[in-house]
């Protein structure tokens, strides 16, 4: 009710607000990008590093940002700006065509080189990272691109696949991927299923967000509860309802998971 009134007030207050709005518009753009970066950093702190023995950089999923910011289109735009500037890398995870993982470029580089230290594939991987990080914001590469643009040979491509930086997509094309991310995906899917199960089993299939955060997690849930909650809210697997006692998460019927 109050939201509609605010919208109606907006339409009719256009004249009065015109002069004030012009002054604000210039600053908001720069603030917006910083806003997303700080949300990303907050979410990255929720990622449990120790679980993977520090071999993975902190990973955040794109739809977790949607639970923090209401305007999805502007979130998408700002993410694209960050990717174009080379600060952020996006990966396609295999389990859902809409689930994208985000990693800060420096973290990714540091972890990959740390993992590669001492192996013979180190040089090729370094060369690939140098080509990738400032310029390219693609999620997958096909053979032409690798051979002609990046000037890699077939054996070098095999080395990259072996090191885990590339995963096979189909004949002659590869996804960009995070090495050792298989364990992450496995724990993530298990944890998501377990948390959704908790919501589903509650009375009326709904639970207060604060209560869910306080619940004891089973051994299936390896990540922090807040990480999973951002995930299921952002992917709209549960409905977020504001009540007088706080936010209630209600399980949405018709989900496959």
């Amino acid at each position: 009710m109050s939201r509609k009134r605010a919208l109606i007030a907006d339409t009719f207050c256009l004249k009065r607000r015109r002069s004030a709005a012009d002054a604000v518009a210039g600053d908001s753009h720069a603030e917006g990008a910083a806003d997303i970066r700080s949300s990303l950093q907050n979410l990255m702190t929720l990622f449990s590093r120790k679980l993977f023995n520090d071999s993975l950089p902190p990973v955040v999923l794109k739809h977790q940002l949607y639970s923090l910011h209401s305007d999805r289109t502007s979130v998408d735009k700002q993410l694209n700006e960050l990717r174009a500037s080379g600060e952020l890398l996006m990966f396609q995870l295999g389990f859902d065509s809409e689930a994208f993982a985000l990693v800060f470029a420096e973290d990714y580089r540091a972890k990959v080189l740390q993992g590669e230290a001492g192996r013979e594939t180190l040089e090729t991987v370094e060369k690939f990272l140098d080509k990738l990080i400032p310029g390219c914001s693609d999620l997958s590469f096909n053979k032409e691109k690798m051979l002609k643009e990046f000037l890699f040979t077939d054996s070098e491509i095999t080395q990259l696949v072996k090191s885990g930086v590339l995963t096979v997509r189909d004949a002659g094309s590869w996804w960009l991927s995070i090495p050792n991310s298989g364990k992450f995906i496995k724990y993530f899917i298990k944890g998501r299923k377990a948390v959704l199960g908790m919501v589903k089993k509650s009375k009326y299939s709904e639970i207060l967000k604060t209560e869910l955060e306080g619940r004891r997690t089973t051994s299936h849930v390896k990540f922090q509860m807040k990480y999973h909650i951002h995930d299921i809210v952002g992917a709209e697997l549960v409905e977020c309802i504001q009540t007088t006692s706080g936010t209630v998460l209600r399980y949405v019927d018709g989900n496959i998971n």
Binding site: K4, L7, I8, F12, T73, S97, E98, D138, N142
Partner: protein, 400 residues
Amino acid sequence: MLSFLYARQSGLDDPVRLRRAESTRRVLSLELNHNRDVARVHGNGINTLDIEVIDGRYMLSGGSDGVIVIYDLENNSKKLQYSCKTICTVGRSSRHVHKFSVETVQWYPHDTGMFVSSSFDKTMKVWDTETLKPAEEFQFDGNVYCHHMSPVARKHSLIAVGTKDPKVQLCDLKSGSRIHILQGHRGEILSVRWSPRYEHILATASTDSRVRVWDVRRASGSLFTLDQQNGDKSKASSEAVNTAHNGRANGLCFTADGLHLLTTGTDDRMRLWNSATGENTLVNYGKVVNESRKGLKFTVSRGCSPEFVFVPCGTSVAVYGLHSGELITMLRGHYNNVDCCEFHPDYQEVYSGGKDCNILAWVPVLRQPDIEDEENNSKRGGTQAAVNPAFEDAWSSDEG
């Protein structure tokens, strides 16, 4: 509001501005009104609604029982309470009624003497409104999912028909011929729409996840296919390259100016495209629940300043801002799934029909007189309180 009126009167503002602001305010305050009702005639779900463009007075509805009903939307009685009456129906007792469910109905765009209906009994009938007898009947090989006549056509009178067959058929109303076929899709055609801007541009959506835009004058195939990644082949998996949706594409709607096209798909997404270039504008509407196995009929508002999209989502109608992508509100009132909705541009009303056999009219709420009193009070510096302080209490609030 008064400032808008004054600005219009003195010439500071364009007349259109007041109209747009008021239309937007009315759309934002849509609600079910107990004074407004539509007569309940259908015995089974309602699949399609169409309001004629000339007067905005008569509405056609087609139901799952094959019945077609015409309603009069205008309130000529002097009373506030009004129930939209049926003028005539093509009921089960009529000799020419469709055998199975009517999927799409559309008034002839230039007058109400004629309307076209297509149904799962593999026929499309052109009816004479006066006698309620079909003047022409087109037979097809498979279920007819949808048809559309161009609202702006002057040079042709083609009806585009989408059936189970991957070929889009164009039937000519003047000559009765059906030789023009558009080839290119690989699955059933769930939705067809002509552009409201150019009379030769047609968009079609199909179960092969592709949405194609055609120029019917061209001999070769479609103009372009809408690609959700905008040509960036790296983002999608290799099967999903060049598709508009990750599931079946089942709904199409052009905006009123014809510059943008909205598509919905069973991947629970709605996308906004630039209709001239086919570029995905990447507006993110979030999850738009879509489980329809047939086409989804949704509509866009006309004449408002930020335009709104009304999409049937389960048992309610979701209202989204067109370019911002935010969910404004959900119109709840149906008892079962909503199948179709139509926007009445002159009165800013929305009519929605669904499986519960009801057509609901969503009417803008009338202005409350006390809001203006509050504004006047604040202008005067709040010297005169609206309520005597002796009657004020600490626990009730004046917000609704």
